[in-house]
Every structure is written in C-alpha cells, then in structure tokens.
C-alpha cells in the first residue's frame, strides 16, 4: 500500500510494523513528529506498545535499557542535543548488549542553536558501539527500521538509523507500506532467554574488573565486525521479502569511472542528478552511497572505488581540527592498502544550508583540477 508520508512518519510506521513493545522518547525538533505519530498509532490500537513519556533523553535511553533488559522490543528516537545528552547511556546499552533501535534525525549540535540538518550529531557517537545506517529516502527509512530490529536482535548490539532533518523528516514522499503479515514473517517477535527474570535470577551489566573487561570489549569488537555480514544478509532477506534492497555501499554508475563521489544521507539524491548530468557530458563520474557507516564497510567501498583515479568525499559534518569525518574514516580505512585512490575531502551544507547541484559540480570540478588532495577538507559554499 502506497502512502505519501514525511520521513518521521515513515519511522513511526516502521516501528508499528516491527511491533515494538516499549517506546520511550522525549521531544526535540525535528524528531517530534515521530513520537506524535507513534502516540496516535498507540492510542487507536494499531500499535500495542507502552509509551513512556520520559522527562529527558537520558532517561529515555535508560528506560529503553530497562525494558530491553526485561526482554521486549524497544525503540526510541532523538536528535542532536538529545542524542548528545544520551551519550553516556549509548555506551551503557552497547556494553549491556541490548538490541535497542533508535532513529536519529541528523541535526546540528549547539552552541549556537541550529535545528537544521547536519550529520555531526550521529557521527559524534561513532565510538559508542552502536551500528549506524544512513538513509537516503523516506522509503529507505521505513525499510531500515524493520531491518534494524532484525540486525540488532541477531548481533545483540544496538542500532541507530539516521535520517536528515527536514529534508527527509518533514518532507513528504511516496512510501510503499509493507504488508503487516509479511513484516511479521520477516521480523518474528523478540523473546530472549536471557533477561531480567525472577525465575532465573542473574545480575546484569555486572562490575567487570581489569581481569575481565578487555575480554568483554573484545567480544563487542568481534560482534561488530560480524555484524557487517549480518547487515548484508538481512538486506538480502528484506529484498526477497519485499522486492527492495539497498546494500551496504551502493555504487551508482561507477563502471569505468575515474572520479567517484562518496556521499551519505539525502544529499545522495542530488549527487545522482549531478552524476547523470556529467555522464551526459561524457565525464566519467560515478557515485558511491555510503549506507552502512558502523561497522565501516571498507572492503565494499574499496571494491567499488579501486579502479577510480580519485575519490571525492562529501561531508555534511565537521569535527574541529579533522574536518570531514567520513573522509577521515575512509582515509584511515584505506591507509594500509597497497593501492587506493587519493581521497579528496569536502565539507558542504552544515547547519541546514542546502547542498545544491552547483555545489556538487564545484566539488567535482575542484577534484579534477587538483592534482593532489588538500590536507584539510575544502569548505564548499562558504561566503568567505
């Protein structure tokens, strides 16, 4: 069934199809309508979930940890300041190996206050051990919600799916709502054996002294690495069930490309248009959409970009001193490879500033022009 819906509602409907049992969230622009729609779905019985209207995002994640430890499917959503406030508990959820799913609407972090799109908030959490999946369209958002629960419950690590503020969250697009029964078959109920259970009492999230902590961390690392394969397989299963799949890194017109753009999030759609236009003009430009960010899909990206002469990474985010984070990660991932194309780094569209076709052409042009990448990211669209 196709519906026109904004990205936030796509999240809510995904959660409804996934039959989440406990939702605990705190409102923050631009996430608010996720929770509002969930309240409506709960109120009219389409979603049989307990909604806990907590008094802060920190408490929201604590609530999720509690309910997930009790053994039920748990969901929350937040953005920028709220995500930052939750930071401590994100680590806690990972260490406790709880399959919590969270939707984060990418928004710039204050100060100064800015409610518009930027990827810095989710990327600032890249060390917490949460998986991160960046979505390009509202359809992908809804589909990723279902996929996220399945992945999380298989690897027992929490999963964050990411969508851009306003461009996806508040923009209506046609979305194909999967049939509920098919969704149930794809995602059976979550009923773990190990949980807070007075008939089988254990202490959870025990104190781990020096002689044990390393081993527990090692296990997280192993699970995180194994989760890449799980992500791929779940995406395949989803494809079989619903006819749509997304992959971990999606190549677009990369055959014979000498320059490959790397983007994540909604800007990918604009990039597709830019690539098409340039291909028309005979330029051999391609695009790699980075969907899975944690765990980092190095092999997949390398596979796609190896043949190119140059890679141009578009970061809609910024870490002071490093510049674009995606570029940073890609450079680090490739550094020990015998051969890889040089990685050019560009920062655009911070704080909700539009990344236009013009900006993208500028990026491609500059990449062709420069023999070597600048050490620091190049800021595109800056009024200097």
């Amino acid at each position: 069934m196709k519906k026109i819906m904004v990205g936030n509602h796509a999240v809510s409907w995904g959660v409804m199809l996934a039959r989440a049992e406990v939702v605990s969230a705190y409102p923050i622009t631009p996430q608010t309508t996720i929770v509002e729609e969930l309240s409506v779905l709960c109120a009219d019985g389409r979603l049989k979930a307990r909604f806990i209207p907590v008094e802060s995002e920190h408490s929201a994640m604590a609530c999720c940890i509690g309910s997930s430890a009790a053994g039920v499917r748990t969901f929350t959503a937040t953005s920028s300041q709220g995500l930052a406030l939750m930071h401590e508990m994100l680590h806690w959820a990972t260490g406790a190996r709880l399959p919590i799913v969270m939707a984060n609407v990418n928004r710039a972090l204050g100060s100064p206050f800015n409610i518009w799109g930027e990827q810095s908030d989710s990327l600032a959490q890249r060390d917490t051990g949460w998986l991160q999946i960046y979505c390009e369209s509202n359809q992908e958002v809804l589909d990723t919600v279902l996929q996220s629960f399945k992945i999380a419950e298989r690897v027992l690590l929490p999963v964050m799916l990411v969508l851009d503020a306003f461009i996806l969250s508040h923009t209506a697009e046609p979305v194909d709502i999967p049939d509920h029964q098919l969704a149930d078959e794809f995602l059976p109920p979550y009923r773990p054996d190990l949980r807070l259970n007075s008939k089988d009492p254990h202490i959870f999230a025990c104190l781990a002294p020096p002689e044990y902590l390393m081993e527990f961390r090692y296990k997280i690392q192993q699970s995180m690495l194994q989760s890449k394969e799980v992500c791929r397989r779940v995406d395949e299963e989803f494809g079989k069930a619903f006819g749509r799949k997304y992959g971990l890194v999606e190549p677009y017109r990369c055959e014979g490309a000498d320059l490959i753009l790397v983007t994540a999030g909604s800007v990918t759609s604009t990039a597709r248009v830019a690539v098409d236009a340039l291909r028309e003009k005979g330029r051999k430009v391609g695009l790699a959409k980075l969907r899975l960010f944690r765990p980092f899909p190095k092999e997949e990206l390398l596979e796609i970009t190896r043949g190119a002469d140059k890679i141009a990474v578009l970061d809609r985010n910024f870490s002071a001193g490093i510049g674009g984070i995606f570029a940073h990660e890609i450079r680090a991932a490739f550094c020990n490879e015998k051969s890889h194309p040089p990685v050019y780094s560009y920062i655009t569209g911070l704080g909700g500033r539009d990344t236009t076709l013009q900006n993208l052409n500028e990026v491609i042009y500059q990449t062709y022009e420069r023999p070597r990448p600048e050490e620091q990211s190049v800021w595109v669209g800056l009024r200097s």
Binding site: H202, C206, F216, S223
Partner: protein
C-alpha cells in the same frame, strides 16, 4: 558454599557481563580483628540469692507456663521453695536489675506460686542423686539449715540422721513463724519430701539431754545447726515477775497448739520479726497489742512489709520507747514504766544508739509483756573442741569448725540470721562434708561452684556427672551492661493480700498468692540478664547474614567464615550475652 570461579577465557565468558554464581565463597571472616562469642553470664538475682537458685532459669520456665519444671529447678538447690516463697527477705529482688529500670520482679511471689502449683499437682521433683556411700552423717537440729544439709547429703549418697530437740521438725520455721505467714501444711509437705529421700529422724533428742557427744562418735561427720532459741533478757528490774514471756516462747506455744492466756493489753518489746510476729499473733488471739521499740521506724530490723501489714491490722507501734521497769501487782506484771529516747551517735553495728530523754518517763497498763529483743544460741552442750567464741561457733569458709569432721551452720554461726542464709549454709556444709569424707582437695571447689561473687554455690553443678572444674563464666551483669533500648516500662505485679479486717480474726494466710495469668505476666518481665533467651536480635541485625539460627531451643551459630567482626550483635544484644575478643587469642 559456592565455589570461586576460576579466571575465564574470552571464549568461556558470556557475551555480556552477567553473574554466574554467588559471592558466598568469599570468606570475609578474614577481614576480622574482633570475633564475637556467646557467653552466658551471671544474672544478679542468681548471685544475690544466698542459696544460689537459678532464678533467671526458673522465670524463663514460668513465663512459658512450665511452672512445674521451674519448681524442679529450684529443688535442685533448695528444698524449701514453698517456705522461702513466703518468708524469705528476697535479696534477689534487691539485686534485680529491673529495680533500677522500673520495678524489680516479684520473685518471692513467683517462688511461692511455683511451690503452690507443685503442691497442687503433687509433683515429685526428678532430683539428681549419687550412688550410696558407706559413711553416715549426724545433723543436729531440724531447722532450715539442718534439714537442707540433710537433704543434700542424702542426695550425695550418705546415711543421714537428723536429731531434733523438740517433738516437731522444722526449727524456727515450725515454732517461730506464725501460721498466717507460713502454714504448717506447706512446711510439713516440704519436710516430708526431704524425709522421703531416706533421711532418718529422731525427735525429742536434745544434745546434752538424751543425746550425748559420745553418741555422735559413730558418725563420720556432724553438722551442728542448733539455731538461736534462747531469748535475750530485757535487763530491767522486775522482769522475773509472772506475765512476762519471751517472744520465742510465746510463738512456740502458739505454734504447738498450746492455749495461751494473754488478757487484753499486751506490750511487745522489740522491733524485729519476732516482735512483730508476736504482736500480730496476739492480735489474732483477741488481744490489743502495743509494740515498743527503742529506735525509729527506719531502724526496725523486721521486714518493712511485715511492719506495714501490722499497722494495717491496727497494731500500734510506740517508737523511741524503752521499758525501764516492770511494776508488779501480786507477783504479776501490771504496769510497764517506759522512757522516751532520742537517737545518739552510732552503735557498734552502725545504728544510732538510743539515748534516754531524762524526765520523759511514763507508765502503761499491761496484762502481758512479751519480750522479743533478740535471740541467741545456747551452746553449752557443745564440746570445747569445737571452739566457741562470743556465743557463736566459728567456722571457716566451708562451714568447718576447728574440730575435724564437725561443721556448723544456721543462726549459730557468724552470718545474717535469715532463713535463706541458713539454707545456704546447710548446702555449703553438705558439699564440703562430701569433699571431706572423700578426702578430696576442696581448694578449687569455690571457684568451680560459685554463682557470682557473693558466696552462693551451685549444687546442680556439683552433681554434674563430669565434675569439670570450670568456673561459671565470671561476670555478673549490671544494668549498665544491658541495652535498654529493647525494654519498656511495665508495672510490677504485686502479691495480693487478704483484707486486713479479715486478717485480724484468723490465722489464715495473709498473702493470697498469684494466679497463673499474673504469674506468667510477671515472670515475662524478666530481662534475662546475661543469659540468652533466643530473642534473635543478633540474627536480625547482622549485616553479613553471618549468624544462623540454631536448632530448636539452642543458641544461634556464628558463621566465622563470613563474620567481619563489626560488633553490631554485641551492641544489640539486650542482655550482654555476646563478647567480642581479639581474633587469634
């Protein structure tokens, strides 16, 4: 106890930190510097009783409704609980820690209650006894000292013969204390229980008159308990006249059922129990007695309760009054000239000496004068070998006289003249006669048998199969040793008495005794000083769950593997049973 889990490898660990076992393997007992231990101590009532009764133990039993078992416990030490429960001056109650908190336990009334119950149920106590021995012991005098000594000696296996000068047994208990204080029936029952154990008796056998010292040579030991039956003379002119008798004579006649003609106006001279008893007996015989005492009320040696009861019965007491002359008519006392006193400096016994006020003489009309200013011994029948001094028989701490094999006790030796002291001296003599006849070293016996520091001994301990010479854990518990947070004010239940109007016309018992409900309620007021009563405070407050419940009726158990030695159990024990000692000593 759970086991320590050996260091796990990564592959053996669960994917998230969850507990796999308990902490019990962790022996936190190794943290300890001080270690707790249960140690029952001496309750002050037990120490305060000269007869060494396990009063605290008996109160616990009464509180549980086990009066007969409580009586059995008393009979281990003292054959006369029914007597003591009526006439003892109860130093136990003065020692009771509860006395400093609110009011002491009515131990005396409870002792009587036990005895009355046992009598009602015709109970025979399951007494410990030893094997028969060949030796024979003679006991001279069947008062409380003599009969107690006989009772314990026959349990220790000896052949005992009691010689009594009077035709009846019981000494002062029988002839000195009136019926309304100690019914003959009660005394008779307890004497019978002694005789049933196999004690032989010869009445009308007075030493020096029918019974000679030679006769006693066939016995391997002798216990002298003649008692003080001679009345002191007033030392005033005219006292040889008729119509003047001693208090002991008067009471003996009344107690033996002789008819005594008193007339109406009876002057009783003296302030002790004999004087008060004589006055109250005279009252019941229809007279109007007047007690004359030379000092003030506070100095009267009689029990305060007795004096109070006498006053309730309408008996007048003229204090600070001494007789100086008897004025006779036709050879019979008709008037008593008296003089008023004031109190001067203290006497040799510490009481202030009465000093006559010149010119305060007065005369009272009398039909009968009863003189009861004190009793003393008549030791003329005893051999010089025994070593008499100041009209008493000197003894060492065992009750032994200078003469080998001859022991003495009761009022004739230097000790307070009370029933319970007499009983205590009888028991003590029995123990040391036994050790003497066995030719054993008695040096360690006091240490082994003492109940506290006041000289009481425990026969129960002496009769234990394993004669372990371990001192009863030394300390007597005082009020300051208790944790008073656990005790609430509760009124003391008192002995009910017959109405004074009823009392004056008959010799019925004045004290009516507790009923079961009252007895149990009063017994439960006992703090159980120094003796564990399984209140479980230690178990309840242990932060380490390191005290486990013992078996039914037994002490709790310390888990020394886990006890950290914090001392909360010691602090919260209401009755000072837990001691903390340095670990490793």
């Amino acid at each position: 106890m759970s086991k320590q889990i050996p260091l796990l490898r990564e592959g053996e660990m669960p994917y998230q930190p969850i507990s796999l076992g308990s902490m019990e393997w962790n022996k936190t007992g190794s943290w300890r510097y001080l270690r707790p231990r249960f140690e029952n101590k001496i309750p002050p009532c037990n120490e305060g009783c000269p007869a060494g009764q396990d009063i605290e133990g008996a109160l616990v039993l009464i509180g549980k409704g086990k009066y007969l078992e409580a009586w059995d416990l008393f009979k281990e030490e003292n054959p006369f609980p029914g007597v003591c429960g009526r006439v003892c001056y109860h130093p136990c109650e003065s020692s009771c820690n509860r006395g400093d908190f609110d009011e002491p336990l009515s131990i005396n009334a409870l002792e009587r209650f036990m005895a009355d119950m046992a009598s009602k149920h015709r109970r025979k106590p399951p007494l410990k006894k030893r094997e028969k021995r060949p030796e024979k012991v003679a006991v001279i005098g069947s008062g409380p000292a003599g009969l107690t000594c006989a009772y314990h000696l026959v349990r220790l296996g000896y052949g005992v013969t009691v010689f009594e000068a009077l035709p009846v047994l019981g000494g002062m208990l029988r002839v000195g204390i009136p019926e309304y204080r100690l019914p003959k029936k009660v005394l008779g029952q307890e004497i019978d229980q002694i005789l049933e154990l196999g004690v032989k008796v010869e009445v009308n056998a007075r030493l020096g008159n029918g019974l000679s010292l030679e006769d006693l040579k066939e016995y391997q030991a002798v216990f002298l308990a003649l008692g003080n039956h001679k009345s002191r003379s007033l030392g005033i002119s005219g006292e040889e006249a008729e119509g003047i008798m001693s208090g002991v004579e008067f009471l003996k006649d009344v107690n033996l059922g002789k008819k005594v003609e008193l007339g109406k106006r009876v002057a009783v001279i003296g302030g002790g129990n004999t004087a008060v008893d004589a006055a109250r007996a005279a009252l019941r015989l229809g007279a109007k007695p007047l007690i004359l005492y030379r000092r003030t009320r506070e100095e009267m040696p009689a029990f305060a309760s007795e004096v109070h009861e006498a006053e309730e019965e309408g008996i007048e007491i003229s204090l600070l009054t001494s007789p100086v002359k008897v004025i006779s008519q036709n050879g019979r006392a008709a008037q008593l000239e008296c003089v008023k006193n004031r109190l001067g400096p203290p006497d040799e016994d510490g009481r202030r000496r009465p000093v006559e006020i010149k010119g305060s003489n007065c005369t009272i009309e009398v039909d009968q004068v009863i003189s009861a200013i004190g009793e003393e011994a008549d030791l003329s029948c005893l051999s010089k070998q025994v070593g008499i001094r100041d009209n008493t028989v000197p003894t060492d701490e065992r009750g032994a006289t200078k003469q080998a094999g001859v022991f003495a006790g009761g009022d004739i030796i230097l000790q307070p003249h009370t029933v319970v002291h007499a009983i205590a001296s009888g028991k003590r003599a029995a123990i040391f006669i036994d050790s003497h006849l066995r030719k054993e070293n008695w040096e360690g016996l006091f240490e082994a048998l003492r109940v506290g520091e006041k000289g009481s001994l425990s026969m129960k301990r002496y009769l234990q199969e394993e004669r372990e010479r371990v001192p009863l854990s030394g300390k007597t518990v005082l009020l300051k040793d208790l944790n008073l947070d656990y005790f609430e004010y509760q009124k003391r239940l008192k002995m009910p008495k017959a109405k004074s109007s009823r009392r004056t016309t008959s010799f019925e018992e004045v004290n009516l005794g507790f009923n079961e409900e009252t007895a149990v309620e009063e017994a439960r007021r006992c703090f159980n000083c120094g003796v564990c009563n399984l209140c479980d405070n230690c178990y309840i407050f242990c932060p380490d769950v390191a005290i486990q419940k013992g078996k039914e009726g037994e002490l709790n158990i310390f888990d020394y593997d886990h006890c950290k030695g914090c001392g909360i159990c010691m602090e919260e024990c209401p009755r000072d049973v837990i001691v903390m000692e340095v670990e490793g000593r």
